[in-house]
């Protein structure tokens, strides 16, 4: 393809292209317009980390600054969606979802079902997830399982810039509410991304690496940890790991996971969420139920510990599942010992 852009730029580009294509697409959020026209500020701030920077200059009033009131503007976005708009609401940190959970859980997710399919809520709620940013317990959680649990919501968590652009475009065009989770540690990650608009369908996992000995499943940042572990395993132990990037957590591409486990016989799921009722436990349970005969060993979960995200940098680094932890989990279920 030849053109590398970052995960952050890819999200910005997806919003720009969809706002150009569809006049009903609007963007709401805190500080996305703030700073425009202020001394020394040629442009708006573009949100807390500048993801939407430049869009206000291009699309003007279709970007709206909101008060520090998530329950109000998420509710407004859902209402606008029900009235024919396609709002993209930036919630900053997914951790703040608590105050507006009723609008999401009891309203947006239910409308299609409660009104016999006559109402739709094509709203996208973008938010940062994940630890590693020294932002402590209330700005660092991986709350993806909370939303995956709710029927009616779609949950997306891209691991790279190509996927971020294609999945966000799909999310905006989708008629259902989508929780779009952006791992803040990936904003600088670059890869080849086409200039044109393209949509990646939901429920299509990506096989990021092919292998025959073990299936490692991850999403978001953990895909990169899984890939690093796979390289390490191949180098030290001659173990060829297949790495599956789930891309979307709801709907889930179970077929690709099951197909891979049926070929490898072993499963390791890597999840930055806390272990109980997590994506890891969900995948492990599903595979155990549907491909038990193919398993040569018990599925392994590599997750964050069951604690809030620590503020101490040293502890925070230990909190996120590491490539070494993934390698260790693989070695527990393979006969091959790893070389030192």
């Amino acid at each position: 393809m030849g053109r590398k852009i970052s995960y952050k730029q890819a999200i910005n580009e997806a919003l720009d292209l969809e706002m150009r294509r569809d006049p009903t697409v609007i963007v709401l959020g805190e500080d996305i317009v703030g700073g425009a026209g202020a001394p020394g500020e040629a442009d708006a701030w573009g949100g807390v980390l500048g993801v939407t920077k430049g869009l206000h200059a291009k699309h003007g009033d279709r970007l709206m600054d909101t008060p520090l009131s998530e329950s109000a503007y998420i509710g407004a976005a859902i209402g606008a969606a029900a009235c024919g708009m396609r709002p993209v609401a930036e919630l900053m940190f997914l951790d703040f979802m608590g105050v507006c959970f009723d609008q999401i859980l009891n309203q947006a997710a239910k409308f299609k079902y409660m009104f016999g399919g006559k109402a739709k809520t094509p709203v996208v709620i973008r938010a940062m997830v994940g630890a590693g940013f020294r932002a402590a317990a209330q700005h660092s959680q991986m709350l993806t399982p909370l939303f995956t649990h709710v029927p009616g919501l779609k949950v997306v968590c891209p691991s790279n810039a190509y996927d971020a652009k294609g999945l966000l475009i799909q999310a905006i065009r989708d008629d259902d509410p989508v929780i779009f989770c952006e791992h803040k540690a990936l904003y600088g990650h670059e890869c080849d991304v086409p200039e044109e608009a393209y949509a990646i369908p939901f429920a299509e996992a990506n096989v990021a690496r092919e292998g025959k000995d073990v299936t490692i499943v991850g999403y978001g940042l953990t895909v990169h940890r899984a890939l690093a572990a796979a390289e390490d395993l191949a180098r030290r132990g001659g173990i060829e790991a297949e790495v599956i990037d789930l891309r979307t957590l709801s709907p889930m591409d179970w077929d690709t996971v099951i197909e891979s486990v049926e070929a490898t016989g072993r499963l390791v799921v890597v999840d930055e969420a806390n272990p109980r009722c997590s994506i890891a436990s969900d995948v492990a349970a599903y595979v155990t139920q549907h491909a038990f005969g193919a398993l040569k060993a018990a599925p392994q979960m590599v997750t964050a510990p069951h604690t809030p995200v620590p503020f101490s940098p040293v502890l925070e680094d230990l909190y996120i599942p590491s490539a070494d932890a993934v390698s260790a989990a693989v070695s527990r279920i393979t006969a091959k010992a790893l070389a030192a």
Binding site: M1, G2, E196, Y198, E204
Partner: protein
């Protein structure tokens, strides 16, 4: 360097290729090799392919281990005559160093594609070589310039070679002003005008073959010769299920069996190849462009344009190459111009004959271009 010792190295198929995996040897150590023999299979992140021997001799060393990845130009085997002592070969292997990438750093080199503004929109192309003759490579329906991955460098040794992405394809403009054969022929001529190509040898694959014929008919003064590889436009039959399947496939599971129709050896279709085609198909405008072309060129599973008579009448020097096992366009169509053209039907090859039998096709093309 011992001139009697010929290294077999990991090939470089396309500028973006940095490494390849040896998937298996097709000959055993000690085998007598003729130049052009297929000696091993290599898989890249794009596609699987076969390495052909550049020189004749005996396969004296097999160094590339199956299922192992090697950098481009790494030594993976040695061919030498029987009378070359083992010690000399061992010394050659021991002294061999992987040559550095020429010019800029390999990581920065990337695929050097260029773009040009034409009346049909912004078109992507690649250029190789500096020869006096100019060759223009035209891909088929749903393809792109990377379909010439195994040919462009070989042809670039003897000519100035251009490969373009047709409108609606690859990284070119996706909107099709005129989704017909004359419309695409006009786009090709517009591309030649934009780059100042007065006259070229046109090499077309599949739909690109029909296009090459159409350009030769419409603008004979711009065409030095045509080479028709698994070409459309030579008969009415075409695999309608393939066309419909390619257009409609939205996911990997649907697309892979469709793409397998393109090759004699279905294992050539790697996961990466399928993913790359999916990435193309998902770009806005591609679905519309492909459907318009399919409806215009291949309605109801038949070819709308048969050009053999007009091509013959135009008198353009013509080469026709088909894969014997072509499952998209019957290889029997190769005979449509048998009275006026050089015709070759290659065994153990399918529709992508220029990839599956790259060495032989390159040899035929070079001879054809040289006249």
């Amino acid at each position: 360097m011992n001139a009697r010792i010929n290294p077999i190295v990991m090939p470089k198929w396309g500028l973006s290729m940095a490494e390849g995996k040896v998937t298996g040897w097709l000959v055993r150590p000690g085998a007598k090799i003729t130049a052009g023999d297929e000696i091993l299979e290599v898989e890249t992140d794009k596609i699987a392919g076969v390495v052909e021997a550049g020189e004749a001799g005996t396969l004296r060393r097999v160094l590339g281990e199956p299922q192992t990845v090697y950098p481009v130009k790494a030594l993976i085997g040695v061919i030498a005559d029987d009378d070359v002592p083992d010690a000399e070969i061992d010394a050659f292997v021991a002294a061999y160093a992987v040559p550095a990438e020429e010019g800029e750093d390999a990581a920065e080199a990337g695929p050097r594609y260029e773009f040009v503004e034409t009346p049909a929109g912004r078109l992507r192309y690649a250029r190789r070589g500096e020869g006096e003759d100019t060759v223009l490579l035209i891909h088929g329906f749903g393809g792109d310039l990377d379909n010439w991955l195994f040919n462009i460098d070989a042809l670039g040794a003897a000519a100035t070679v251009y490969a373009l992405d047709l409108p609606g394809h690859g990284q070119s403009e996706k909107a099709l002003g005129d989704p017909s054969l004359p419309g695409l022929a006009t786009a090709v001529l517009g591309f030649m005008d934009a780059l100042g190509i007065a006259r070229a040898h046109l090499v077309g694959h599949s739909m690109g073959g029909a296009l090459a014929q159409r350009v030769a008919v419409d603008a004979p003064s711009r065409v030095a010769s045509i080479a028709l590889i698994a070409s459309a436009g030579l008969g009415p039959e075409i695999n309608g299920d393939y066309i419909a399947g390619f257009v409609s496939a939205a996911g990997r599971r649907e697309l892979k069996p469709v793409l397998e129709h393109l090759f004699h050896d279905p294992s050539t279709v790697t996961r990466q190849l399928v993913d790359d085609v999916l990435k193309y198909k998902r770009i806005d405008g591609v679905d519309t462009a492909l459907r318009a072309l399919a409806d215009g060129l291949f309605p109801d599973g038949r070819q709308a344009s048969q050009l053999a008579d007009r091509t013959r009448a135009a008198g353009t020097r013509t080469l026709v190459v088909f894969g014997e096992g072509d499952r998209i366009i019957p290889a029997a169509h190769a005979q449509a111009l048998a009275d006026t053209a050089q015709v070759h039907v290659l065994p153990e090859a399918g529709h992508m004959v220029q990839m599956e039998k790259a060495g032989r096709v390159n040899e035929l093309l070079l001879k054809h271009i040289a006249g």
